[in-house]
Amino acid sequence: MAETATRSKPAGSGSKGRRGGTRSGGSRSQQSQGKTAPQAESPETLRDYFRQMSLIRRFEERAAQGYTQAKVGGYCHLNLGEEATVVGLMSALRRSDYLFTNYREHGYAIAKGIEPGKVMAELYGRTTGTSKGLGGSMHMFDTEVGLLGGYGIVGGQVPLATGAALAIDYRGGDEVVMCQMGDGTTNIGAFHESMNIAALWNLPVVFVVINNYLGMGTTVEMSSAESELYKRAVAYRMHGERVDGNDVVAVREAAGRLVEHARKTGEPAMLEAVSHRMKGHSVVDPAKYRNSEDAEAAREADPVAAFREQLVSANVLDEDGAAEIERAVQADVDAAVAFADDSPHPDPATLFDYTYATPVANDSRRLPADPVF
């Protein structure tokens, strides 16, 4: 069930465990109660949520594998454990709505409608990738589906999203901007500046905070004086709400409601989705800072397995049907990997093609060993 900022109880029941590795605060545990009834949506829709969640799960497992094979370089932050949130949020957006994300974005790119092959090709740094191989894992982009970028500076995307909403408002369009970020982001100045501006100017942007309770190794209690993050909305006279991020239908419902409200009224809102990060911060992080209790909780909360079970017990899906979806998803990911593998690397001759949108006199095209004159 969702909690809203206006109806919330006082924070933290008893010990707040600022330095603790475990999830504290009474309201957190309430999140697992009362999953939204699957009947709220059509069986086809529910099966499609399951398909997308499985696709993202499998894709991320293969991304990690690609990393260990050195086919994927740089940083690689996965959505493992956050699939229900990702799919729930993206299903609430129209294709013409805009999305800004942080660097943990592969799942969002896929769920917003980009072919998994293009996403994998970007991880592989190939010309067929979402950013022609120039962006990598953290910087995917696709105007066609309204993904206006993944950003690697924590909070950097928040002012941009606000500005995109300003452009929509300026032109009188009916699109909505969704701005995804992690819990750690809510302590960045840009977050507060943007929340204030969006509320002041009545801009159609929904700020979505994925509270997986960790920013790298720092817990939400260690970093946020008010760790029930949706309450921060109150400071900006904005509607804030918290939802169980492991429940795809609940996320869809809450996000859909806020997005449609923003579309109609232009009012911004904030949604906190409480989720789990199953693995380390990035592929190379063994997450030693995590205590066993917390790691176990993340494993148990596995939203893909839980949703499968839920659909099977509700007769929306039988075992064969589930297995068939899983096979199809596996084939999709295999095809994505093959596509990425077969795609060309960028030609070094194209190095200077994308520095300036308007070419200029005297733009330096010097390579490291070249003389200036």
Binding site: L134, A164, D353, T355
Partner: protein
């Protein structure tokens, strides 16, 4: 042809651009009701309304970033940063975002916007309000940085910056706002990346930008009265940098003095001196000299502030020392 101030040239050009393109809007602190800290935007709120002239909270990172996002969707924001000193709070949005969006997404998006901001000292504003830190921006590929020194340049470069599809940091200078000059009515936009030769000469090259370009012109005029022929180059564009024009000039004159309002160490003059070494080493008859601000946080006290900033006198002295070194005969 009208003689108007640098301030008026900026105001008139902004107004004109707003009249001709619906997508151009102004955003910044105190630009509307207050009519701008330096009154560049006077009257524009009244004429264009709140949608086109948007007063912001004191949140540099938030509103600069919002302008970047709006530019990504095709609007043409003109941001006024009250002074370049406050741009530091928006550094992330300028350097990590505006400058990178075109490149890192493989050319799929861009941020066509103009960041107008005055810099410079000399007004007894103290250390945090008197800086010339345009170098921080000129260092960054993906940004363009222009610095007009005359009312005509202000107009021509502002037009060019607004027509450009990249983010342009448009450097103004507090000391220039009241300076006057001829501005032709039908001026074409300037070409970003081209320096101007504002005086031709054969004895020495003086290279400057913004306020120091106007000081260089003054000094060249003084020297001319004594029969010394100085060539003056106004960089106009700090990125891209027109190395060809300045190297060509030094090849002709054989010596150069650089005049800059910023600090010496690692400053813009250092890049220019290196460029001259790269392109005109064999032509040099004397070491390249640099006239730059003293390397101190700019003091408030008037005599100290005056001592710290380059002036016509200090530039004149440096030019004479260089001419002496090459055995120039008057």
């Amino acid at each position: 042809m009208a003689v108007i101030t640098y301030r008026q040239a900026l105001h008139d050009t902004l107004r004109e651009e707003m009249l001709s393109d619906e997508n151009v809007f102004l955003i910044g602190e105190e630009i509307g009701v207050f009519e701008g800290s330096y009154k560049i935007t006077a009257g524009l709120l009244e004429e264009f309304g709140e949608k086109r002239v948007r007063d912001t909270p004191i949140a540099e990172e938030g509103f600069v970033g919002a302008a970047v996002g709006a530019a990504m969707l095709g609007l043409r924001p003109v941001v006024e940063l009250m002074t370049i000193n406050f741009s530091l709070l928006a550094l992330d949005q300028i350097v990590n975002h505006a400058a990178k969006i075109y490149g890192m997404f493989g050319g799929q998006s861009n941020a066509p916007m103009v960041l107008r901001t005055p810099g410079g000292g000399g007004q007894q504003l103290g250390a945090t309000h008197s800086q010339n830190i345009e170098l921080y921006y000129a260092f960054v590929p993906g940004l363009k940085v222009v610095a007009p020194s005359t009312p005509a340049d202000a107009r021509a470069l502002l037009k060019a910056s607004l027509a450009d599809n990249d983010p342009v940091l448009f450097l103004e200078n507090l000391a220039l706002y009241n300076t006057k000059g001829e501005v032709p009515d039908d001026m074409p936009p300037a070409e970003i990346g081209r320096a101007g030769v504002t005086r031709t000469g054969s004895d020495i090259t003086i290279i400057g930008y913004s306020r120091m370009a106007t000081v260089a012109t003054q000094v060249a005029d003084q020297l001319g009265e004594e029969g010394i022929s100085a060539e003056v180059i106004d960089l106009r564009s700090l990125r891209p940098l027109d190395r060809e024009t300045l190297v060509e000039s030094v090849r002709k004159t054989g010596c150069a003095v650089i005049a800059e309002d910023d600090w010496l160490t690692y400053g813009i003059g250092a890049e220019i001196a290196a460029s001259i070494s790269d392109g005109a080493f064999d032509y040099l008859d004397a070491p390249v000299r640099r006239v730059a601000a003293a390397e101190v946080p700019l003091p408030y006290a008037k005599p100290l502030e005056r001592a710290a900033l380059p002036s016509a006198e200090s530039l004149n002295a440096a030019v004479r020392q260089t001419l002496d070194a090459v055995g120039h005969r008057r």
